[in-house]
C-alpha cells in the first residue's frame, strides 16, 4: 500500500479538512465498502446510500479516530457495517420482515458461507470457525456477514429461537477463546 492510499494517513488529512484526501479514500475503498454493505442490505441503491452516509460520517468524525486504538480500515468498515445494519433493522426500508423469498434467503447463506470459504487458510479465524459445530458457524456467519438478527437466523436455519441464541452465545465465546 503506498502512502497516498494508506487509510490512516488519509484519515489524518481528512481530520484536517482535506477533501482531496476524502476523495482518495473513496476511490481506494468504495468498491469494497459498497459490496460489504450490499451483503447486508441486499440492494445496490441502499448499499450506495449506506456508503454515501458513511463517507459523510468519516468527514465529520475523522478527528475522533484514534490510531493508537485500532486500524483505520477497521474503523471505516465498522462505520459502513453499522449504517448498513441500522438500515436493515429499519423495517420500512427493507422487506425481510414481510417475508423474504427463499431465493433471497439462499443468497444470504451463499454469501455467508462464501466469505468463510474465502478466508485465507492460515487465518486463525478460519481455523477457529472450522472448530465450531456447523450450526454455530452458520449462525455466526449469517449474523456477521449478512447482518441477520437472532430471529432471522432462526427462520433461515429453521431452528428454535432459544436454540439459535444459545448457539451464537456459546459460539462467539468459543471463537474468542480460540483466537486469543
Amino acid at each position: 500500500m503506498t502512502e497516498a492510499t494508506d487509510p490512516q494517513f488519509l484519515l489524518q488529512a481528512i481530520a484536517h479538512g482535506d477533501r482531496a484526501a476524502l476523495a482518495q479514500l473513496f476511490n481506494a475503498q468504495a468498491g469494497r465498502l459498497v459490496a460489504i454493505a450490499r451483503r447486508i442490505v441486499r440492494r445496490q441503491d441502499l448499499a450506495e446510500e449506506v456508503v454515501q452516509d458513511a463517507f459523510v460520517a468519516v468527514w465529520q468524525r475523522a478527528g475522533q479516530f484514534d490510531a493508537a486504538r485500532g486500524n483505520a480500515l477497521a474503523w471505516l468498515t465498522t462505520i459502513v457495517r453499522n449504517r448498513a445494519l441500522n438500515l436493515l433493522r429499519d423495517g420500512n426500508r427493507t422487506d425481510y420482515h414481510d417475508g423474504e423469498t427463499l431465493a433471497a434467503i439462499g443468497d444470504r447463506t451463499i454469501d455467508a458461507m462464501g466469505a468463510f470459504d474465502a478466508l485465507a487458510e492460515r487465518d486463525a479465524l478460519k481455523t477457529c470457525l472450522s472448530q465450531l459445530d456447523e450450526p454455530k458457524r452458520r449462525a455466526i456467519l449469517l449474523c456477521y456477514v449478512t447482518g441477520l438478527n437472532h430471529g432471522e437466523v432462526a427462520a433461515t436455519l429453521n431452528a428454535p429461537l432459544g436454540t439459535v441464541k444459545a448457539w451464537i452465545r456459546r459460539g462467539t465465546i468459543a471463537l474468542q477463546e480460540c483466537l486469543s
Binding site: F9, Q12, A13, H16, G17, D18, R19, A20, F26, N27, A30, G31, R32, V34, A35, I36, R38, A47, E48, V51, Q52, F55, V56, W59, Q60, R61, G63, Q64, F65, D66, A67, A68, R69, G70, N71, A74, T77, T78, R81, N82, L85, N86, G114, F116, A118, A120, D123, A124, L125, L141, C143, Y144, V145, N149, H150, I168, R169, T172, I173, Q176
Partner: protein, 236 residues
C-alpha cells in the same frame, strides 16, 4: 459481569446483534472497562477478515459527487462526542485541558502579544494559535521562524502522563504528510529546533498529540490530537 458474560456481550456487539440503545450502553461500558474495550477491538479486527473476502463491487459514477455535495455543507466536528473504540484515555486528557479558561486569553490580549513580539528578534514568520480540541478554547501559541525553529507559548501548564510525551507536528503539505517538530514533557515556553522544512506558510497546520515516550513509534501522529490550529501572518 463474569468473564463469560463479557465475552458474550463482545460477541453480540461485534456481530451487530445489539439494537442502537444496547450498542450505546456497551460502548459506554467499554469506556469504563479497558479489558472489555480491548476484547471488542480484537474480536472486531479478527472478524474484519470476513469483510476483506468481498469482491469489490461497482457503483454509480455519481456516488462521489453526491458525497462531495453533502461534505461541502457539513462542518467537521463534535470532538467531545467520542465514538466507539476511542475510549477513556482520550476523554481523561481532554478533561485536563478543560481548565484553559477564555479569561487567560483575554488577559493576554492580542495587543499584548504583538507588543511583546516586536521586542523579540527575529520576528516569527508565522503564528498559530492552537485550539483545545474539546472546547475550541485557545491553548497554545506557536511562533515559527524562517530558521526552522519553533517557539511554543503555552496558555496553561500541562504535563504528559507517565510514559507519554507531547509531540508537536506540522503539515507542510498533504503530500509530505505530518512532520514532527519535537517532543516535550510539559507545555512550557520552549524553543524547538525543528527539522529543515520549507518556510512556514499561512494556513499551515500545527498540532500537538499525546504519544508514547520517547515519541511516536511510527514517525506519524498516532495518539489523540490535543490542540491544533492553522498558521497566520503576524501583524507587522
Amino acid at each position: 459481569m463474569t468473564r463469560e458474560e463479557k465475552l458474550a456481550a463482545v460477541g453480540d456487539y461485534v456481530l451487530g446483534l445489539l439494537d442502537p440503545a444496547e450498542a450505546q450502553a456497551f460502548e459506554a461500558a467499554c469506556r469504563d472497562d479497558d479489558e472489555i474495550s480491548e476484547w471488542a477491538r480484537q474480536f472486531a479486527e479478527r472478524m474484519g477478515a470476513l469483510d476483506f473476502t468481498v469482491e469489490p463491487g461497482s457503483y454509480s459514477p455519481d456516488l462521489w459527487s453526491k458525497i462531495e455535495a453533502r461534505v461541502i455543507e457539513t462542518p467537521q466536528a463534535e470532538r467531545a462526542n467520542i465514538v466507539p473504540l476511542v475510549p477513556r484515555r482520550r476523554s481523561a486528557i481532554v478533561q485536563q485541558w478543560l481548565p484553559l479558561a477564555a479569561g487567560v486569553v483575554v488577559a493576554l490580549g492580542v495587543g499584548y502579544l504583538v507588543g511583546a513580539m516586536r521586542q523579540t528578534a527575529p520576528a516569527p514568520t508565522i503564528i498559530a494559535v492552537l485550539l483545545n480540541e474539546a472546547d475550541a478554547s485557545p491553548a497554545v501559541i506557536i511562533e515559527a521562524f524562517a530558521d526552522d525553529s519553533v517557539r511554543l507559548l503555552p496558555l496553561d501548564d500541562f504535563e504528559a502522563p507517565e510514559g507519554k510525551v507531547l509531540q508537536l507536528w506540522t503539515l507542510p503539505d498533504v503530500a509530505t504528510g505530518p512532520v514532527s517538530l519535537g517532543t516535550l514533557p510539559t507545555t512550557r515556553d520552549t524553543v524547538l529546533a525543528g527539522p529543515s522544512l520549507p518556510t512556514p506558510q499561512v494556513g499551515q497546520l500545527y498540532e500537538i498529540t499525546l504519544e508514547p515516550a520517547p515519541g511516536s513509534p511510527t514517525g506519524r501522529p498516532t495518539g489523540p490530537i490535543l490542540v491544533k490550529g492553522f498558521a497566520k501572518l503576524p501583524i507587522s
